[in-house]
């Protein structure tokens, strides 16, 4: 064309570039492969033991007993958590309960206390708390926030109009609660129950302290105490199958129903229900819950901190080095899990096709793998394929990152959705290079979510005991392993500082997370 002949200013052109996200696909696929590694090596391990040996190990009374122990405790704890979680969420979100804001915090804080610390607290004051009933009590108190949090969020976000419509259609208060209010919270309740069941199936430390045998404690015993790898791996297979059943049951129960609100997302002010004469009993219930779930473990830690008794306090150097190791591993795991989640989240949010959805779903397979199963598989993988990584810090961090990948993905996905591609296009049309757009638009929008993902994994890593016990580099102590060493020797006084530090470190990211989740709805809402 002749018009190009006289160009007063240069408009440099660029070469053709493919718009298909090849790099994203490659990295996303690599992440999926990494996440499948533990499951693959578990199967390799089982097949190496030979089918006859495995069937001999599986089809015996012990397996059945362990399965029964695990399943009945799971069902009981999940049911108890569902009742407590829904009741607490309903009182805080829907009634005029005095001090709702404070209760809303106190009810969640038990999440920051590791389950094995809670059980240590109970056992050290009441040694009779053990077995099935003791485990039911302690695990319910430790895990109910996993139901409370999603259900409270669902109650908060639900359309108040639906309840009004139900009343206008002639439903009374009780029937409206059953058919509409609970219906709105159903997916959240199911999700919370799945989290409780999976946490219970993965738990090792608390049951060791409470002297209750589950599949996980037995796997730990077989692999770490008597080194019976075929028994450990075949029981792991059973555990994984149970976890898959829980996840599959969740999928089936959700069905095709959709809970949504139609029309603009305007959060209408809802008039809280008046508790009236039920106020005092409700307050007493919350006080009891906070006292049992929070007061007991905290009080015990504080008591042992100031009354070390005949045991000597650990040397402060050991405390500091354990804290540094814990924080270092947790930071590395948080960073790695967040980075791994980015390509998967980008693919599923920016390129929503059936293939990318499938990739995203497949990464959730990790949810069926407990910390112990991942640890054992990775150790086996290291021994077989990469001996120089055996009992090394990098492998430990990879283990944490795999275990907590689903947590990171949820947070990263939310944050990537905060930065739609249109904003990048507008930024570029305003004369900004892609790198400047990344810096000025994408990063500010995505950063809070990435920080949340990091904190979520950090917090979980600090309080993770099982995987740490199996994979920690030889000679290295973390807060969790030191606490474990002292508390299993019944040196409760020596264990207390480690517990206190663990809780203190875990509380900071919890606070950051709470702030982030509080900010989310305000950003989405329109109007001042």
């Amino acid at each position: 064309m002749t018009v190009t002949a006289a160009t007063p200013r240069a408009l440099p052109a660029v070469r053709a570039r493919s718009r298909r996200p090849v790099v994203l696909w490659l990295t996303g696929g690599a992440v999926a492969l990494l996440l499948f590694l533990p499951l693959a090596y578990l199967l390799v391990q089982v097949s190496q033991s030979g089918w006859s040996a495995v069937s001999h190990l599986l089809f015996r009374q012990l397996t059945l007993d362990l399965l029964w122990n695990t399943v009945r405790l799971s069902l009981a704890v999940t049911a108890a958590c569902a009742v407590i979680g829904v009741a607490a969420a309903w009182c805080i979100e829907r009634t005029d309960l005095p001090g709702r804001r404070i209760w809303a915090v106190l009810v969640v804080v038990p999440l920051a206390i590791p389950d094995f610390v809670t059980s240590y607290g109970w056992v050290s004051v009441a040694p009779s708390v053990q077995g099935f009933l003791g485990s039911l009590l302690v695990m319910t108190l430790a895990l109910y926030p996993l139901v409370y949090l999603p259900v409270a969020a669902a109650f908060r976000g639900a359309d108040p109009g639906q309840e009004e419509v139900a009343h206008s259609l002639g439903l009374g208060r009780a029937r409206t609660f059953w058919r509409v209010t609970l219906g709105q919270a159903r997916p959240a309740l199911l999700g919370g129950c799945v989290l409780v069941s999976l946490a219970l199936l993965a738990e090792y430390g608390a049951f060791e302290i409470l002297r209750y045998n589950t599949l996980t404690t037995e796997i730990f015993f077989e692999s770490e105490r008597v080194y019976n790898i075929p028994a450990a791996s075949s029981l792991s297979l059973v555990l994984v199958l149970v976890c898959f059943l829980v996840l599959g049951g969740d999928l089936a129960a959700r069905g095709r129903g959709r809970v949504s609100r139609i029309g603009p997302q305007v959060a209408r002010q809802r008039r809280p229900l008046r508790l009236g004469r039920a106020t005092l009993p409700a307050l007493a219930g919350f006080a009891l819950l906070a006292g049992l779930a929070l007061g007991v473990p905290i009080a015990v830690i504080v008591y042992w901190l100031f009354n070390p008794g005949h045991t000597t306090l650990p040397a402060s150097t050991s405390l500091v080095s354990a804290a540094l190791h814990t924080a270092g591993y947790a930071a590395a795991a948080g960073a790695l899990a967040t980075v791994l989640a980015i390509p998967v989240a980008l693919l599923s949010v920016r390129h929503p096709r059936r293939s990318t959805m499938l990739l995203e779903r497949s990464t959730f397979v990790v949810q069926a793998l407990t910390g112990l199963v991942i640890a054992l598989s990775l150790v086996f993988f290291a021994i077989r394929s990469v001996p120089f990584l055996y009992q090394s810090a990098p492998l430990l961090v990879v283990g944490y990152a795999i275990l907590f990948f689903p947590l990171a993905l949820v947070a990263v996905r939310t944050s990537v959705a905060q930065a739609p591609v249109q904003l990048e296009e507008v930024g570029r049309s305003l004369g900004q290079r892609p790198i400047a757009v990344l810096w000025r638009v994408v990063l500010p929008l995505v950063a809070p979510g990435l920080a949340a993902a990091f904190c979520l994994v950090f917090l979980s890593t600090v309080t993770e005991l099982t995987l740490t016990l199996v994979m920690v580099p030889t000679g290295v102590q973390t807060l969790a392993t030191e606490f474990w060493a002292y508390s299993t020797n019944i040196s409760y006084g020596a264990a207390a500082p480690y517990a206190a530090l663990m809780v203190a470190i875990a509380v900071i990211p919890s606070y950051v997370l709470g702030r982030w989740f509080d900010r989310l709805p305000s950003r989405a809402s329109s109007g001042p």
Binding site: A16, R428, L430, G431, S522, R523
Partner: protein, 361 residues
Amino acid sequence: MTSLHVTDVHKAFGSHAVLTGIDLTVPEGSLAAILGPSGSGKTTLLRVLAGFERADQGTIVLGDHVVDDGRRFVPSERRGIGYVPQEGALFPHLTVLRNVAFGVPRRERPARKLDELLEMVGLSGLGGRYPHQLSGGQQQRVALARALAIRPGIVLLDEPFSSLDAGLRSSVRADVQRVLREQGTTALLVTHDQDEALSLAEQVAVIRHGRVGQTGSPQNLYAHPGDPGIARFLGDANLVPCTVEGAVATTPFGLLPVRAGGAAPASRHSIALVRPEQLVVSIDPQGPGLAARVVRNQFHGHDTVITVEPEEPIGTPLVVVRSDGELDAPVGARVTIVARGEVVTWPDEESARSVLEAVEG
């Protein structure tokens, strides 16, 4: 400001061809509209012009720079195009003022008088607000100010008013038109709303199936649509069979003069366009003209739109009539219709017939 020349632009997504040879010229300083139904490829065209997508084939020239000719490709950030997306797409983490200042280099910001720009779009004093504190109309104004702040050669607007409610739409529309005039910016607006295109733009290009069907001033397009499909798209239209001899068409409404300027040759089988406002209804069933029965009566305040069914078949099942003010013709009433003014005619060839059928269908 600058002119825009688009020549034979093609764009396909996989096997799905969206643009199939777009030719378009927007003169310097003018406000043009691309009018097309949803799925006609108008948003894709805008995205290709903005540099968010590259053309598979064809040439795009801004002023005297080739920005895309299928081989060379100037990326969006070097085109100097102001882009106003459908929902505004303001940066949620920046205040109004920082949104507007986004594309302006820091040291040039004082000289650009961004406050004045805000004032011009009617947002003075709101510079410190965040986007979620603004109404939809205010967000659109900020998006326009942000695009104008970089002193673009041309502003592209992608259905900027479609997310606003009716009352707000007309005021924002008028303001946007005023601001673009004051700035003397070349602007290209994409819309599916014929009313918007006709009332706002100095030049309208009708786009169908990925190519430009007809271009012209709003008045010219409305008076001389290129084919029955475009006639239908630009407003309510009665398309009836007729025969043309010389400058006179014999229609079911009687003899009507054929509008000069049309290129329709004499033909026994033609199609005539009679706009609803050309028809006059008489509630006297014995009056002159075409006898019909009312099947629908919609009162709009400023006028009444009546749909009638002719008693004798005339080649179209229903006729739409627009009448000023109120008209006492209830459903079922027998009325007579008389036409006035000139008609546009097209030979009723296979193509015309198929277009007509497609429109009817």
